[in-house]
């Protein structure tokens, strides 16, 4: 029996957009809520005075006691559902507290982000915030979900207005792929099946969109950050492997094939891949994001932290990098701060030598900055104690991402995107040579009946 593919989703929405209800509806209508879970929330809904149909589906996603008590979502929760075509991992990101931190966390691993819009209010400041973050993180697809269409007198007009506003934002924020889907999460219209509140709409349901969007992409030149050198000697599982020497890691982008010439990023030394092992199973090739072990033709100096890269398109190690940081900590950023920068499997000491600009996310305009606080998006210069093979984030989501880490307690202070620019700050993010993006001229909305 073959297994389906995997699509990683994240949600973003304001507190009253009905995001938890939508997630509950997706789980319920794809038959991913089992009898005992439904019984538990039906019971809890009644105790809380719920009088609607079914149960309060939002309760399916509230995992912590404080969330149930306060009726809010505090932290990212992960949910799983599947159809015959696909399995989905859904990161449900709360919208109000620490919105940027949570959205960044969910969006960094997502193939698709669902941004909720209340049909009564259309695109609001929160929508712009979420789309700005999603654009900055270069999430491959965005689905804007226009919820609560059952509550407006003329849903088709409300939908059309949202489509136009989103198209404007899409251009401003340089987002690749957006679709706009009208639904009623409360009643279930157009989530999995069409319904009477969306009978004016002829496009696909939300689930149909999610089932047909392209899943993870593995393009770009081959990159393989080395995690471990495997050299078991007499600790091998069998005597025939005592001389084994392999480099364990994962293909972070592209495809590695037996016979490929690769270059060690730190030294520039070249060698050839002679074997790819997934455990005891030999492979001819490995595509991102597979975890494998590579064997090389020569006994070159390779250790944890090195990147093995396609020899015809290697990354260039740099000692200084301009980056956009999403500041995720309550501890403020002060220029000159000494931090750690983690990239792939290498962590180096660094200084935040300059904080240039900050995005006023409400106005989508940049302004001069002298530091950063929680949820701020700022452009900085990082000076690195040792070179890192950083690539433009616009070209490679993994080659261009970095963490800023507190050297004292190891806390993750910021998510960083190398050579990225803040929206509206002049140069386009793809201008640093090459881009994995696509011509975005096609319409983004479903047509009316």
């Amino acid at each position: 029996m073959s297994t389906p593919t995997l699509l990683r989703l994240a949600t973003a929405g304001s507190v009253d957009d009905g995001k938890s209800t939508l997630v509950g509806r997706l789980l319920h209508d794809t038959k991913s809520v089992l009898a005992d879970q439904l019984a538990a929330i039906t019971d809890a809904s009644r105790r809380r005075g719920w009088t609607g149909e079914l149960a309060d589906l939002a309760l399916l996603t509230d995992g912590l006691r404080a969330e149930r008590e306060q009726g809010i979502t505090i932290d990212v929760a992960y949910r799983y559902f599947a159809t015959a075509r696909r399995s989905f991992v859904l990161a449900d990101c709360p919208g109000h507290v620490q919105y940027t931190r949570n959205t960044v966390t969910g969006a960094s691993t997502a193939d698709v982000v669902l941004v909720l819009v209340d049909a009564r209010h259309g695109v609001v400041e929160q929508t712009r915030r979420h789309l700005a973050v999603v654009g900055l993180l270069r999430v491959p697809h965005v689905v804007v979900v226009v919820n609560k269409v059952d509550l407006v007198a003329d849903p088709a007009t409300a939908y059309d207005r949202t489509v136009l506003d989103i198209e404007d934002l899409r251009r401003t924020l340089d987002i690749d792929s957006v679709s706009v889907v009208p639904i009623s999460a409360l009643h279930g219209d157009n989530v999995v099946e069409p319904g009477p509140h969306t009978d004016w709409y002829a496009g696909p349901t939300l689930l149909e969109v999610l089932e047909t969007l392209p899943a993870h992409r593995s393009g770009g030149p081959a990159r393989f950050p080395v995690q471990l050198v495997i050299r078991p000697q007499h600790g091998a599982v069998a005597a025939e492997h005592v001389d084994y020497r392999g480099y364990a890691g994962h293909v972070s982008s592209g495809t590695v094939r037996v016979g490929d010439e690769v270059v060690v990023s730190s030294s520039g030394v070249r060698t050839t891949v002679v074997g790819i092992d997934r455990g005891p199973e030999p492979l001819d090739q490995a595509t991102a994001p597979l975890s494998v072990t590579l064997r090389l033709a020569d006994a070159v100096d390779v250790s944890r932290g090195d990147v093995l890269a396609a020899a015809d398109e290697p990354p260039t190690p740099v000692r200084s990098v301009e980056a956009v940081l999403c500041w995720l900590s309550e501890r403020p950023l002060v220029p000159g701060a000494r931090v750690l920068v983690a990239h792939g499997t290498r962590t180096v000491r660094a200084v935040v030598s300059d904080v240039a600009e900050r995005l006023d996310i409400g106005r989508l305009a940049v302004e001069p900055a002298s530091g950063a606080g929680l949820n701020d998006l700022v452009s900085v210069t990082l000076t690195l104690a040792e070179p890192l093979p950083l690539e433009p984030y616009a070209r490679s989501r993994h080659g261009g991402s970095l963490l800023v880490v507190d050297p004292h307690d190891g806390w993750t202070l910021a998510a960083g995107m190398a050579y990225a620019t803040l929206p509206g700050a002049g140069a386009s993010p793809g201008s640093l040579g090459g881009s994995d993006r696509f011509d975005a001229a096609a319409p983004l909305a479903g047509e009316h009946r």
């Binding site: 496009g203 471990l228 975005a440």
Partner: protein, 317 residues
């Protein structure tokens, strides 16, 4: 009248979307788990694998062996032993330890009951009593990275936990103050005295685990497959009579064809009626199940809406 997306899949030669051809779901889940395991083995000094002989910990061990192949698994395993064991699971544990050449540490709840550091609960279940022996073992052996087979689909508190989850010097989890988990980055850093819990199977579902067991030909204790067993019914669960779970008046012992979906404290782990005697039949059964794994089989998780959250905050798995 179909929707047109701005994204044109025909321009992406490397797509492995609905048309297939690239890594499938199990490849992706396996690769994510192995990436996490290798980071922890590389970065931390004293990792340990929690190993009970249950299916999730068996899969975790299989993944660790694959991550380090052809090196042996040098990470020790720790069993927090409730004393309420299924004999066949204990035998399976010891056979597995011997086959992989592992170092086994056992932290026994019974020792704590014997000398009074813990007291038996009125309901008799010992799953919640595992926390203190676990934390003591972590302190005693100075473990800094503790691998567990926990999955986010098991429970709503687990659904909130990070793959790499920081614990303070008291082993406590602070769900409101968790580190953001970004891209494929694995941050295992912590201060002295703190440790991290690591859940490489976070994104797996029960069905994924079974499909992987099928694909990889992983051996499990026999009680995961349908067999004839004496059981009695209590609170809708089929319990196996034993020294710690005697039927009360009116609870009739019958022979039924059953299997176990989870393995824990024998006194409160229920069997389910099943005819699935092979791994393929179990996959089919799990795919069609209408009740969650824990709802079907764990009396202790029915205590309250927040039973797992409370235990996790105190340092439970």
């Amino acid at each position: 009248m179909s929707q047109t997306l701005a994204y044109d899949p025909s321009t992406d030669a490397h797509d492995h979307g609905a048309t297939g051809g690239g890594p499938d779901l199990l490849d992706l889940l396996e690769s994510e788990a192995i990436l996490v395991i290798r980071e922890v083995v590389a970065e931390l000094e004293r990792p340990v694998i929690l190993f009970s002989g249950g299916k999730d910990s068996v899969v975790l061990l299989h993944l660790t062996a694959k991550a380090l192949w052809p090196g042996r698994v040098t990470v020790p395993v720790l069993h927090v032993d409730t004393g309420h064991n299924f004999p066949e699971v204990l035998a399976f544990r010891d056979a597995t330890v011997a086959r992989f050449g592992l170092t086994l540490h056992v932290a026994r709840v019974q020792d704590y009951l014997d000398d009074g550091r813990l007291r038996e609960r009125t309901d008799g279940t010992r799953n919640p009593l595992q926390t203190v022996p676990l934390l003591d073992a972590i302190t005693e052996h100075r473990f800094d990275g503790v691998f567990g087979g926990g999955r986010r689909d098991e429970d709503k508190a687990r659904a909130k936990e990070r793959i790499v989850s920081l614990r303070d010097a008291f082993g406590q989890w602070d769900p409101k103050n968790q580190r953001p988990e970004l891209w494929r980055a694995v941050n295992t850093r912590h201060r002295p005295g703190e440790h991290v819990r690591v859940f490489p199977l976070s994104n797996w579902t029960e069905l994924d685990v079974w499909r992987y067991i099928e694909r990889e030909g992983i051996e499990l204790p026999d009680l995961y497959y349908a067999h004839e067993r004496e059981v009695f019914e209590r609170d809708g669960m089929l319990l196996s009579p034993g020294p710690w779970s005697r039927p009360r008046a009116g609870e009739e012992v019958r022979v039924e064809q059953v299997r176990y979906r989870t393995v824990g404290d024998m006194s409160c782990t229920g069997a389910v009626r099943s005819t699935a005697r092979t791994v393929g039949e179990v996959v089919t059964e799990v795919a069609a199940s209408t009740v969650t794994e824990r709802g079907a089989t764990r009396a202790d998780d029915r205590i309250s809406e927040a039973a797992m959250e409370d235990r996790k905050k105190e340092g439970y798995f």
